[in-house]
């Protein structure tokens, strides 16, 4: 296990009133536990606003989201080289030397590259930060080889980000992350701002790199078809909690949780037009006022009165498949 997350919660304070007291906490991630093996592609699926990105950012020690400071409880333990480090205990400053082990690829490559730096400088920067003792020439060679690895000619090194296409820019982002040889790469919807034809290239690049370098990804996406293709293991999130987690093939073939079933039936399919879509009614409840007991009970087709009492825990359904609903096992 290179990453172990135990009972992690991320909440945002909501200030109101003239004294700016923090009255409520919006719980974006709610008591989540999981662990990730080396070389695994762990998919995080769920509709927008379910807390996938907040979870990814919390793992990367980024708490400042949209001007709000998130509060984090629980443990995040990462294997950094030989030592195990409890990231959740570190301050921003203490975190800095460990940052290279957990990296992030962002959604929009138009915004995640500094418009005033050349491509070469962008990839060079992390090397300079984490390997300051290496020679300049040595680092330059590494920049060139990284660019080749992500399928770009080193000639692009002198260009500026705006001269490249979206797909090329996302390749630069990947090269920049690979520069520091991270243990885990969190890919936060790396495809959603790209054209469909480019998406396939980036997915294949991510997959090839994973095989070549034995990388570990946490792949956050709402695109369930890509997830099926890429991920080894998948966790389905609803309102900040995991409702189902398991081997991708197993979960796709045999989704147990009513939410997962509804989510998967929303995947457009050209062949089976006759299948009745299992659509959910109602809206996602506000994370500020979470339903008691099972958070899905307000929209669940099989909800019973008992569902409002106890919070369902993830329970073993089969060897590599856990479900947070006691009535579907």
């Amino acid at each position: 296990m290179i990453l172990t997350v135990n009972n992690l919660s991320v909440s945002f304070p909501v200030s109101s009133g003239i004294f700016q007291k923090d009255l409520f906490g919006i719980s974006a991630v709610h008591h989540v536990s999981f662990s990730i093996r080396k070389g695994e592609i762990f998919g995080l699926a769920g509709e927008s606003g379910c807390g996938k990105s907040s979870l990814g950012r919390a793992l990367a020690h980024l708490f400042q989201v949209a001007g709000m400071k998130a509060q984090l409880t629980g443990q995040v333990e990462l294997l950094c080289g030989q030592e195990r480090v409890l990231l959740s205990l570190l301050t921003q400053k203490q975190m800095r030397p460990y940052r290279r082990h957990i990296q992030m690829i962002f959604q929009d490559p138009f915004h995640s590259l500094n418009p005033r730096m050349t491509i070469g400088e962008i990839i060079h920067e992390p090397l300079q930060i984490h390997f300051p003792h290496s020679g300049r020439k040595e680092r330059q060679e590494r920049v060139d080889s990284l660019m080749e690895k992500v399928g770009l000619s080193p000639e692009y090194g002198r260009r500026f980000p705006h001269e490249l296409s979206g797909g090329q820019r996302q390749r630069i982002c990947i090269a920049r992350v690979l520069a520091v040889s991270p243990q885990i790469i969190i890919a936060d919807e790396p495809l959603s701002s790209l054209d469909v034809s480019i998406q396939a290239q980036i997915v294949n690049l991510l997959r090839d790199l994973q095989e070549d370098l034995n990388l570990t990804y946490i792949f956050i996406s709402h695109d369930l078809s890509v997830m099926k293709y890429l991920a080894n293991r998948i966790a389905v999130m609803y309102l900040g909690t995991f409702v189902e987690i398991g081997e991708t093939d197993e979960v796709y073939q045999n989704p147990r949780h009513p939410y997962t079933q509804a989510l998967f039936s929303s995947i457009p399919d050209l062949k089976d037009e006759k299948i009745k879509k299992n659509t959910l009614k109602g809206e996602i409840p506000s994370p500020q006022y979470r339903p008691t007991g099972c958070c899905f009970r307000t929209r669940c087709p099989i909800a019973r009165s008992e569902c409002s009492i106890a919070v369902p825990q993830l329970m073993r359904f089969s060897d590599n498949h856990d479900v947070a609903c006691p009535y579907v096992l």
């Binding site: 949209a66 940052r99 962002f106 995640s112 500094n114």
Partner: protein, 270 residues
Amino acid sequence: MNKNKNIRLIFYIFFLLCLFFILAPLLAPHDPMRTHATMTCEPPSGQHLFGTDELGRDILSRMLFGGRTTLLIGLIATSLSCFIGTALGLISGYYGGKTDILISQVMNLALAFPSLLLAIGISVVLPAGFLSVVIALSIAGWADFGRLIRGQTLTLKNREFITAATVLGSSSGKIIVRHILPNCIPLLIVSFSMKLGTFMLAESGLSFLGLGIPPPYPTLGGMISSGRDMLITCPWIPLLPGFLISIMVLVFNLLGEMLQSVSDPKRKKS
């Protein structure tokens, strides 16, 4: 095409002005300080190209030396206030919290005061001279840069490439210097050249009021001030230095606008 011609013209005027000021001691036909009791208020002629003033001093020579002083004061004062304002604006915008409140309040205080009045007040307190004019102008002008850069920092710091730099392990100082500051540069160039124009005017204003460089040393404002009584009888005495100020301010404003478009990597190709 037409625009390119304009740009070239402005560049030529700018270089010509700078050349004139740098070579003032060589180019000046007469000693700018030397008075001539018999040749006061002479109109432009072959011997005195721009005429002489009420004390018989050569106006062309005085304009060359005066323009030099004005430009130098403007440059130093603008650089100083740009440096202070940018540094404080970056710190205040990036760190936020109590630091931001403190710096912002000081900035607001400085901005609430009319800057020329502040400069006048400061130059009254300080002994007259080159340095005190520079200090007075810098104290009056840094807050404009500060507010501008603070605002820009606030928008930049929520951009994703700053988050990316944090994830990659950049320290706050590095993020400010490597990522935020370079993205403020186009803004700085424009406001620098604008401020340079304003400061040259303010310096002339201070000299006009008798608070700048003390006479007999020539400054453009001082020349206008001493020549204003003769606007009707000998119009060349105040008008020619006034004209020079206008050209200098105009050229710097236009130059700033041009430099901004050149410094943007997105426009480099065209």
